[in-house]
């Protein structure tokens, strides 16, 4: 199939439609609005539903409603809007429903700014709303991956009945790149044995619910859900390893930060520094084992992030603090240049050699 030139936000929208999603609920917010605009244009032409909700809160609860009927459904927003959605996300997770939430991150906290950021890492990977739960979190680093991971996010959400989040950032959302779109799938609507579709007076009623007033029952639900999470951690970890074969130093970065880091790694290699990259593709489940294995051969780690340093905590945990982990970061909508990352790699290398 021929490649087309598309914005990242539009690639998500088209990929979602091609993945059989016919229900989208959103609210305008920069830098993800192109996604909603694309859906507004396309959905009415293909018998789908686009609805501009009165708020992000309403949008996520409309998603909750569609998800309860067993159909593919999604919403998208950017950081401040995703904060508003957390209540609904917690309910969706607590009701064991599949759905896709897209966060095209911008700088924060508060209203922050409209430039790219990765500072919602904690919110995305640690639950985000109230209660014990996880989302499956995927982090694309190109327009192609925006498309590919949209389809994957739906599939994983359906497979495990766990909501998934595509954690992008304003850069990938806004930039245009050639993308090969997946072949369109027709929406399938199978009756699920948990969905609310009407009893047809032929079966006991289904209840979609996250309320369990008896603590023993709620505890049991939580334990069962974490069994599912364990199986996701075992089976769904995805990451990219770049120049890691002989690496003595390991850069860890995701999304747009990983692309900057790759340039810096190539430059560092030209200087004779044996450095590689592990790029988590699933932020949850986090590629713990890949990092633990890297710690066997690498002297030090560098976490490159568009935040004040959030993923770095998971890097330290994954390697059990067995190696020094440094942070190379910009925040508030700033992106480090390859030279800045290169300087941090040199510094990492220098410190590690001093320690020897």
């Amino acid at each position: 199939m021929a490649k087309v030139l598309m914005k990242g936000n539009e690639a998500i929208a088209e990929a979602a439609i091609r993945a059989g999603c016919r229900h989208y609920f959103g609210y305008p917010i920069t830098p993800q609005t192109e996604l909603a605009a694309y859906m507004a244009k396309r959905m009415p032409k293909i018998g789908g539903v686009f609805l501009q909700a009165e708020s992000e809160i309403a949008a996520i609860n409309m998603v909750y409603g569609v998800a309860a009927t067993g159909r593919r459904v999604m919403t998208s927003s950017s950081s401040p809007g995703v904060s508003l959605k957390q209540e609904g996300i917690s309910y969706i997770a607590g009701s064991d429903l599949p759905a896709l939430i897209v966060n095209v991150q911008r700088g924060g906290p508060g209203l922050g700014g409209i430039q790219p950021s990765q500072s919602d890492y904690f919110q995305a990977t640690k639950g985000g709303g109230h209660g014990d739960y996880h989302l499956i979190v995927l982090a694309p680093c190109s327009v192609q991956e925006m498309a590919d991971m949209t389809a994957l996010s739906f599939d994983l959400a359906d497979k495990y009945r766990v909501p998934s989040m595509l954690l992008a950032d304003g850069t990938i959302g806004q930039m245009m790149e050639p993308v090969e779109l997946p072949a369109p799938q027709e929406p399938v609507f199978e009756e699920k044995d948990w969905a609310v579709t009407g009893t047809k007076c032929q079966r006991p009623h289904h209840i979609v619910n996250s309320l369990y007033l008896v603590p023993e029952e709620l505890e049991k639900k939580n334990f069962e859900r974490f069994e599912t999470y364990r199986s996701i951690e075992e089976n769904e970890v995805r990451y990219e390893a770049f120049r890691m074969e002989d690496a003595e130093y390991c850069v860890v970065a995701f999304g747009i930060a990983a692309r900057v880091a790759k340039n810096a790694i190539v430059a560092a290699r030209n200087e004779g520094i044996k450095v590689g990259l592990i790029r988590p593709i699933t932020l949850w489940p986090f590629p713990k084992k890949a990092l633990a294995d890297a710690a066997k051969q690498c002297k030090a780690f560098l976490s490159v992030e568009l935040s004040m340093g959030q993923m770095i905590e998971d890097v330290k945990l994954a390697i059990d603090c067995s190696r020094p982990v440094q942070l190379c970061n910009r925040a508030g909508g700033m992106i480090p240049s390859p030279d800045e990352v290169l300087a941090s790699i040199r510094e990492l290398c220098r410190k590690a050699q001093q320690e020897v």
């Binding site: 609920f25 609860n61 409309m62 159909r71 007076c201 009623h205 289904h206 619910n209 996250s210």
Partner: protein
């Protein structure tokens, strides 16, 4: 000959409501409407957060439990996914008129083809009797211990009046369930609110003036009288908006 029986659309679960609470009557009226219209097998209900939080155990149709105030948004999602199903929400005053006001107004203005049963008992029941958006001026509650002071707490929200000012909604009415005559009328109006949805007419909301003897600190009998004495004068009963009837009359 059977002279009295339980509606098919209610389960056998024992209701958890307090003695004298009128939720039981309203549940029954909703179930009777569903039975009368023969829609039990294609109806999906949305329970609120509040006293009726466990309504999902009582209605025999498929049910979901929404977040506080978000029932109209959730119902919108269900209806947009399954347009040929009958979708209703069952919400209290804190849920619908306070935290969920935005969802209520926007579902109404979109004329979302759903039925909303709005139970107004002028108090937060489940949390133990706090001031509601519909608590009357001067009404003593746990969070208005000296009586609702309109200078600081503002005035009660008149939901039927408010929503009937919008162009969107099809049908807005207020009924009460404090005596036989009012219950019989409420039954007709609730059934109409479901019939409207079957006919594809759009957003139909029935505000039901209801009693909360426990948190009002009254006997059940006194609470029903208080509805006549205090509630109905502030919340007059009647049909506030009936778009199809108005269009018919204009022809």
């Amino acid at each position: 000959m059977t002279v009295f029986e339980k509606p098919k659309s209610l389960t056998d679960a024992e209701l958890h409501y307090c003695p004298g609470c009128t939720h039981g009557i309203i549940h029954r009226l909703v179930a009777e409407a569903i039975d009368a219209l023969g829609i039990e097998g294609r109806t999906i209900g949305v329970a609120p957060v509040g006293c009726a939080v466990m309504a999902y155990n009582y209605f025999a149709c498929d049910m979901v439990e929404a977040a506080h105030g978000r029932a109209p948004a959730m119902a919108t999602g269900i209806k947009r996914s399954l347009p040929d199903r009958i979708v209703f929400t069952y919400q209290g005053d804190g849920d619908l008129a306070s935290i969920g006001m935005a969802e209520t107004v926007h579902a109404a203005t979109r004329n979302e083809n759903i039925t909303v049963i709005f139970v107004n008992n002028a108090i937060y029941g489940m949390t133990g009797g706090q001031m509601a958006p519909t608590s009357l001026p001067g009404q003593v509650t746990q969070t208005s211990p000296y009586g609702r002071d309109v200078a600081t707490a503002g005035y009660p929200v008149k939901v039927a009046e408010l929503l009937s000012g919008l162009d969107g909604p099809e049908f807005i009415a207020r009924v009460a369930v404090n005596n036989v005559k009012n219950v019989n009328n409420a039954k007709k109006v609730i059934q109409k609110a479901f019939q409207n949805q079957i006919d594809g007419k759009g957003f139909s909301l029935v505000e039901v003036v209801s009693a909360c003897p426990t948190n009002w600190g009254m006997t059940p009998q006194k609470a029903l009288e208080w509805i006549d004495e205090k509630m109905i004068p502030y919340y007059p009963l009647g049909t506030y908006k009936d778009k199809s009837a108005a269009e018919e009359a204009a022809k």
